[in-house]
């Protein structure tokens, strides 16, 4: 891939300025698209030095040291741990290097504390809120079929990502809160972490199905990977054939999930706009590296939190094409 600054390249000697970037986890399925969009946007514009932080914040801090030592003119940082933003700014500020955080939002106060720091991405809670809205909408529309025990309450099980991971925490909290806000009563039958992992999700689902069988009315997953794992378990238990059905939702709208949505095995997912997030990040970082105004020559606007917002999109059967276009 084109991720390197070239062997021996320090970024000082060639025409394009060097932008140092860290991705919180290279093989995260969403981030891999952001990465591609970044690589595309960087072509002929800046020299992009990409690093894989392997889901380890201290590794990322070290990579920032390396990038600064290599002469990065600006930094594009996808934090592992949003609270570590201050430490990164502390490293960049003395050298007067601008920092564009993306995808994981730092505290507003931290961002405001350095005039050359910006954020590109969504609001962390938004995916949860949108997922909650989607669940509520689907529930209201299919209540007669899906409320199996006809008690008017939604009995759900929830597959959580890695505990303590900001996305896992936000999605879990806001999805359920939003459903409740919409006036729907809920019962949580079970909630357990499957660590973002499809296999673990299958196995948790096996146990829950054995325990609750027909009492489960909804499966909420923090990401599509776990949703797919749950679907594998549901299929094994005879769901999705005949009239046995279970609504499942995820987040990320990965291709496999789109396929499931089309086949009617999944209610929907939440698409994070990877292309625009990646593009905006590089555009801001490139401008910063060149010493220009960060928004110069772009379509983006900053909100009052020094952030460029790239919204999430709900994807279900009705607008599946939106999801598919994201993978064109």
């Amino acid at each position: 891939s084109s991720s390197t600054g070239g062997s021996g390249g320090s970024g000082k000697d060639s025409g394009n300025p060097a932008v140092g970037a860290t991705i919180y986890k290279f093989d995260d399925n969403f981030m891999s698209y952001v990465r591609r969009a970044m690589e595309d946007a960087a072509k002929g514009n800046v020299k992009l030095m990409l690093n894989d932080s392997q889901n380890d914040q201290s590794k990322q801090i070290e990579q920032v040291d390396t990038l600064i030592a290599k002469g990065a003119k600006s930094l594009a940082i996808n934090l592992v741990d949003p609270k570590a933003a201050q430490t990164i700014i502390d490293k960049a500020k003395p050298k007067n290097i601008p920092v564009i955080f993306f995808n994981k939002e730092p505290d507003e106060k931290v961002l405001k504390g350095y005039d050359k720091a910006y954020y590109v991405g969504t609001t962390s809670s938004e995916s949860g809120v949108l997922q909650g809205e989607m669940i509520a909408k689907a529930w209201e529309a299919n209540k007669d079929k899906w409320d199996k025990n006809h008690d008017g309450k939604l009995q759900y099980v929830l597959l959580k990502g890695e505990p303590g991971h900001p996305d896992a925490e936000a999605r879990t909290k806001y999805a359920v809160d939003t459903i409740k806000q919409k006036g729907i009563q809920v019962d949580e039958l079970a909630m357990d972490t499957a660590m973002w992992d499809a296999t673990k999700a299958t196995e948790k689902m096996d146990a829950w199905l054995a325990k609750y069988s027909d009492k489960i009315e909804f499966v909420i997953a923090n990401n599509d990977g776990m949703a797919l794992g749950a679907i594998a378990s549901l299929e094994k238990a005879g769901y999705f054939s005949g009239d046995k059905f279970m609504p499942v939702v995820g987040v990320d709208a990965i291709p496999e999930a789109l396929e499931m949505i089309e086949k009617g095995k999944m209610v929907g997912s939440i698409l994070n706009d990877a292309k625009n997030q990646g593009k905006a990040t590089v555009q801001l970082a490139a401008n910063a590296a060149k010493g220009k105004d960060v928004l110069a020559g772009t379509e983006w606007k900053l909100d009052d939190k020094k952030a460029v917002r790239v919204p999430y999109v709900q994807v279900d059967k009705t607008n599946i094409q939106v999801g598919k276009d994201a993978y064109k």
Binding site: F26, D27, D28, N29, M31, S32, Y33, R36, K160, P163, A190, M191, D192, T193, D197, A198, T199, T202, E203, K204, D206, A207, W208, A210, K211, D224, G225, L228, G229, I231, A232, E235, K236, I254, P255, E256, L258, E259, K324, Y327
Partner: protein, 337 residues
Amino acid sequence: MATKKSNISKWLFDNVIYVFLVLLVIGIVVASPDFLSMTNLINILSQSSSRIIIALGMAGILITAGTDLSAGRMVGLAAVVSASLLQASDYAYKMYPHLAELPLIVPILIAMAVTGLIGAVNGVIVSKLHVPPFIATLGMMIGVYGITSIYFDRPPYGAQPIGGLSQSFTTFAQRGIPVGQYEIPYLLLYAIIASILIWVMWNKTQLGKNMYAIGGNPEAAKVSGVNVARNIIIIYMIAGLLYGFSGTLEAGRVGSATNNTGNMYELDAIAACVVGGVSLSGGIGTVPGVITGVLIFQVINYGLAFLGVSPYIQYIVKGLIIVVAVAFDMRKHAKKK
């Protein structure tokens, strides 16, 4: 009388680990009587199946006083390779858009050949370059992850789970033989077949005896004319083949694969082996022990989730049970002579 009693207690002592498994199940049933169902039994057995296959490969290596940290990553590689070659022909996001649907056996054999080869390389590094197994397989673990990631994270779709597996593949891993209202999962059959083959290998063939000898006293094996290097290479290779097969099962079972499939399975496998009585210093281990070790872990995992224990508490309880299980088992060695 006295001797009869002491015979029973001796038997209990020697088989503490089986007793522990039974006690564990009883404990969960007491906490939640509806745990006692055919569905749960089938679930636990089928979840244990691919782990048993991995653990048997690992156990062979442990018995030679080796270790294999690359097991989980090999499972992942095999899962990714087999899944990529077994996507349904009508699936929109195929890794190889123009690949026809292959007969099931071909991708499985390819995946196994790849991991078998990697296993053999592990064996060569250990036996010919004299690199300690921990380091040899640590290097391999890191390297294989890189290879899997490169294979996985490619155009056209990048780092996306490889899904849309063909019907034949998912049937192979998810279905079973109908018996009354239940299905005996194929997975369980594969595990049983693998266990029998491995049992025969360990107990009835020269390779097996050599394996115990190499782990028990490598010097003795050498001066008795055993070709230590060759045996070690074969044993690591067999482990690789088993991981590879298990990797294809993982892909089929879950219906998709990523470069993170199998992550850390080696730790589970080693732990299950040790709980099942395999000695990390080599020379000791049995097939039933390994199977029991895996079952104990799976009963804990499944049981805690079934009981609805909160996730954080699950960790604490699981940690505790593991230590207690082995502490009991160790009492037979502990007594001062």
